[in-house]
């Protein structure tokens, strides 16, 4: 399999195309596995403790071997870098058409280092790559930048697809993301600030090449089977119509939302339900990329008849909000009309900024105001003028958003890296401890879902390599109480699906992290798997597609080992940066303040936190006291070279 990597040194302007050795796929599968390795290698010759906003950071884009092959499993591109907001390993996935177009151009990976002397963008057309002046794009948002690049580069030899940053990325706002085709954001960890710090405004790509498939017949028969299986499940049609919004009712029923900075866990009002969205806004479903047998995406256009509030947004069109867009808007900020939730989704996408960290920065401040912990005068000092901070008020929310994106004032500057660092700095300025109201997990990353009744999810918030996050080790077995899956993966034991015990919760995180690492390395969308995590197993079911495409035959056990190896490299990067057990933690409210509502009241993380964390380290084969990897585990995974580096850095148990 011939796969190519484009290396770009922005300082010198040098661009180099390299073949990726087949052994790299044998060891790292592809996608996020290879991205991680490129990052690891880079930091063997550059200081891993460098300023993430400096030229020594690396920005990798990669797309996995299944992407764009017709497998039907969706496509996600991945960006990987040292996070400027959390200071740790950072990565983020995104859909759209950009990822497969990178493959059609002849590349699968792009590794960008250095810093351009002036704003540039990278244009790739069928393996021809060049850096072009971006001064006319600087200062534009992601939608404008995408439109200009599409116009400039036209439709030959293919349409132009883009990865862009907005003014937030240019201003090196730590929580700025990178947007694929102006529609799909790689939101987490601050990739936009890394691009901005490198003076890289965008990547535009065109291509009409083919893709290598080692065993096309096997591939087609896998794909045929996959489609039939998806088609036989009516729940997939439900997901097509609602996407992740279908979760709103379930979260409301069990009390899993994040209301007003997680002072509660249920939405208020009757409007924010997926049924209302479908009635008012749903016209049709479509795919976000190509090569997806589900098609959960859709567009809306507001005509003003939907509600009084909607009249403010007549003519606005964008894509249907996802659950976390809704969780941050209707939950964290208490916006109660769908048009406002949709508008929040659009502005955070156009400004290319993470709605989790941004909403929790705003809700932190709103809660301080609600509790009279700060005065009108304090707020005026933060904003440079009088500013109201009302829950559920879109004007107030937009004032906060613009403060951060454009770094307009003290609030924007304090909270450029999200609520944790913002709260720390603000507490210091005021000489008061406000940390109780900052919502975050590992790295200071925030997340707008109720976590306290769900020990696996809570564990995810504490251990995810890229900072608090649900996707790395997503606790489907626990939240959906899938006893069948618990039995399948844990020798007939059911505790992983039982919310009342800490048992098997850390084990479940470790297991699912390995599985998700595989899926992310194949480069597929996670939703297909989530709709049948027992059937579409990454190691068995997807493993067959991986073999058909790459010609690499692996047993399910070997693939699970591959997933574990990928997770261990992410861990090793963080250990080199200095992370230890004490960094695997969550905020005060989650740890100590009981939930007061929902189906599982009275829960705090502290009930099970350390037991679950201990079990996680045990299942990982890491040392419990320090949280560090052991040489024995790394040797078992074929990572002696990694162990050597960790030993030199005193980051091995």
């Amino acid at each position: 399999m011939e796969s190519r990597l484009l290396r770009v040194n922005l300082t010198t302007g040098e661009l180099k195309s390299e073949a990726i050795p087949h052994q790299l796929f044998e060891r790292w599968i592809g996608g996020s596995g290879i991205n991680n390795w490129l990052m690891w290698e880079h930091f063997l010759t550059h200081d891993i403790n460098c300023d993430p906003r400096g030229p020594d950071n690396i920005f990798v884009f990669g797309v996995g071997p299944l992407a764009g092959t017709g497998a039907g499993s969706g496509i996600k591109g991945r960006i990987t870098f040292k996070s400027p907001c959390y200071g740790i390993f950072g990565d983020s996935a995104g859909g759209g058409k950009f990822p497969y177009m990178v493959r059609f151009s002849g590349y699968e990976y792009i590794a960008i280092t250095g810093r351009a002397p002036k704003p540039v963008y990278l244009h790739i057309c069928n393996e021809e790559a060049m850096l072009l002046d971006a001064s006319h794009l600087w200062g534009k948002d992601t939608a404008e930048t995408h439109a200009l690049l599409q116009k400039e580069h036209g439709t030959w030899p293919s349409k132009t697809h883009t990865l862009t940053i907005s003014q937030a990325g240019e201003n090196q706002v730590g929580i700025a993301g990178v947007v694929s085709d102006a529609l799909r954001i790689h939101a987490r960890c601050g990739g936009g600030a890394v691009m901005g710090s490198k003076n890289l405004k965008a990547i535009a790509v065109q291509g009409n090449g083919g893709l290598p498939v080692a065993r096309p017949k096997d591939m087609l028969s896998w794909s045929d089977d996959f489609r039939k299986k998806l088609d036989s499940n009516e729940a997939v049609y439900g997901f097509k119509r609602r996407g992740t919004l279908g979760a709103v009712e379930m979260y409301q029923h069990i009390g899993s939302h994040f209301w007003r900075n997680n002072q509660g866990n249920m939405f208020r009002g009757d409007e924010i339900r997926s049924d209302n969205w479908v009635k008012k806004y749903q016209k049709y479903s479509e795919v976000c990329s190509s090569d997806c047998f589900i098609a959960c995406d859709s567009k809306y256009k507001i005509d003003g008849t939907e509600s009084e509030t909607a009249k403010k947004y007549i003519g606005e069109t964008f894509r249907r909000p996802e659950y976390l867009t809704t969780g941050s808007a209707a939950g964290a900020l208490d916006l109660r009309d769908w048009s406002e939730v949709a508008h929040w989704g659009k502005i955070t996408n156009d400004y290319g900024i993470d709605n989790q960290d941004l909403s929790c920065s705003i809700s932190f401040l709103m809660e301080l105001k609600q509790r009279d912990l700060i005065s009108d005068r304090d707020v005026a000092e933060l904003f440079g003028h009088e500013q109201e901070l009302r829950w559920g008020n879109m004007e107030d929310v937009e004032a906060c958003v613009e403060s951060v994106v454009f770094q307009k004032n003290t609030f924007g500057q304090l909270f450029r890296d999200g609520p944790y660092f913002g709260a720390l700095k603000y507490s210091e300025i005021k000489g008061q401890n406000f940390m109780k109201y900052a919502m975050y997990g590992k790295g200071g990353a925030s997340f707008t879902e109720e976590m306290r009744p769900f020990p696996t999810w809570m564990n995810n918030m504490a251990v995810a390599s890229r900072g608090a996050d649900h996707l790395k080790g997503i606790g489907l077995i626990e939240k959906f109480q899938r006893k069948d899956l618990s039995k399948k993966y844990f020798n007939g034991r059911t505790e992983a699906a039982d919310l009342s015990t800490p048992l098997l919760k850390g084990a479940c995180t470790a297991l699912v992290e390995n599985q998700v690492a595989l899926l992310n390395s194949y480069g597929v969308c996670l939703f297909h798997w989530m709709l049948d995590p027992g059937g579409y197993t990454p190691q068995d079911y997807y493993g067959k597609a991986f073999a058909a495409i790459t010609g690499i035959d692996r047993t399910p056990e070997e693939l699970m080992r591959d997933g574990e190896r990928i997770c261990n490299l992410e861990k090793a990067i963080n250990s080199r940066i200095g992370l230890r057990r004490e960094h695997d933690t969550v905020c005060e409210r989650w740890m100590w303040e009981p939930t007061e509502e929902g189906m599982y009241p009275g829960k705090v993380a502290a009930d099970m936190f350390n037991t679950v964390l201990d079990e996680y380290y045990e299942w990982r084969g890491w040392e419990k006291d320090s949280g560090l990897q052991t040489r024995a585990k790394l040797t078992e995974l074929g990572l002696d070279d990694v162990a050597e580096v960790l030993a030199q850095d005193r980051a091995l148990a």
């Binding site: 009516e234 729940a235 009712e249 989530m530 709709l531």
Partner: protein, 93 residues
């Protein structure tokens, strides 16, 4: 004979075209409830509620809970007056 109430949300509500229903069951079994629901609401509901490979409740992308928030399975028994809520089970985004 017992009475069991049902609440339908998201796609379940769309397929059933109602938010609530009640069923009188001869046997206090989830299997009988599932049968009665699919009899009443037809093929689409059956495709949503029953896994054709196992003939058990469809676990893929769904969530069915009792009033205490516990997921129910096909072999479970039901109490008189119990409410079972049918939800979509998806996360992420």
């Amino acid at each position: 004979m017992i009475t069991v109430h049902t609440q339908f949300h998201s796609h379940f509500r769309e397929v059933a075209a109602t938010a609530r229903d009640s069923f009188e069951l001869d046997e206090p079994l989830v299997s009988e409830l599932a049968q009665r629901i699919t009899d009443k609401y037809g093929a689409k509901m059956k495709a949503l509620l029953i896994d054709p490979d196992t003939n058990e409740l469809n676990e893929r992308g769904t969530m069915f809970v009792d009033t205490k928030g516990r997921r129910i399975s096909i072999e479970d028994t039901l109490n008189d007056g119990e409410t079972i809520t049918f939800l979509v089970g998806i996360a992420g985004g």
